[in-house]
Amino acid sequence: MHKKVSIAYITGITFALCTTLASAQDGKLIGTAGLVQLEGSGGGGIVPWATLSGYDSQDQVSVSAVATQVDVDDYRLNVLGLSASFYDRVEVSVAQHRFDLKGAGVDIKQNIYGVKYRLYGDVVYSDWPQISVGAQHKVLDDEAIASAVGADKTSSGTDFYVAATKVHLGAIAGYNAVWNVTARATKANEMGLLGYGGVNNDSYEIMLEASAGILFSRHFAIGVEYRQKPDNLGLGEDDWKDFFVTYIPSKDFSITLAWADLGTIAAVDDQDGLYLSLNGQLW
């Protein structure tokens, strides 16, 4: 049932994206708007970047949509998100997670409200990296499982981050390279799906996240990402890693396929599998 629902979601979003308005914003170089990450913020795949979603410039507003599915051995995460970027300065986003515990036949739903502010720079043109600060406020709809695994708080929580991103034109044998480093203050267990804090720790901790990629053409990029995570619950929560390929046929659409290694989730180890994300600019 869930599989059918998620396929319907993705098909629906794809259709919406493929029929996007011809007037979508195009004030950045193709490939330099980045993607939309798991929690709905402009980023890579699992890490929020300093880039804002969409191709808006200082004089434009853009709206983007994303549908992502991460399918690992015992869990499946479906993400639907919508984000708006104003004048390449402020991004607001909303995303919904449905986290499916395959064996148990239950899912956990949470909503994430994000805001990001670009403090400095242009990811391509400034001498120093583009720097942004952001927050992700997460509201858990289904608190029973977070409560059962011993989360200190089960209703909601907020992450704060600062990110630096830079594209280097022609840096590696003439290919464009991109890197990002993010520091996140968080109490969240598995992005908030398992609540906040626990027996090991219930205060904010700083986690480091990083990404690096190469654009092999204007339409094709590969990269790796790393996301450090706290183990507040004492259930062996692991850092996350992924290896991604992105195809960017136009400024209005991109598709990302990744191999995600999520390690141990809720004491179930070796969770790895495919990450698929469709990202489109609606306006």
Partner: protein, 141 residues
Amino acid sequence: MKHTLIILFVSLFFGLSACSSTSNQSVYTQMGGQQKVEEVVDNFITEIEFDPVIFEYFKDSDIGRFREKLIEHVCHLTGGPCEYTGDTMERVHGGMNITEADFNRGVDLFINAMDKANIPHPTQNKVLAILAKTRKQMLYI
């Protein structure tokens, strides 16, 4: 598995850097010299003529002079044997109030011009990296 990906990627990064045997040639030479610079500039002028937004900026320009000075400028900046005899970027673009969106649109047209001249992707990026430095002398002035 955990570290293999990272090792693979780091190797790729440094491997690609190391194998860039053309790096001691000027970007001008890598492009294909004067003939290619002229071809790119001619293509760029054609792109501009067919782009209503960018054409606005050029409608009162002396295209012959623009062509001559842009060829000189690209040749000079990419390490070719030319001297740039035109005005400063600030002077040329002063009063145009070029927006960031239009600048980037212009870059897209320049990329199209390089594509049509069959400039290889890595060489295109090196050209863009050089020309990008003139951006702040062109925007919103």
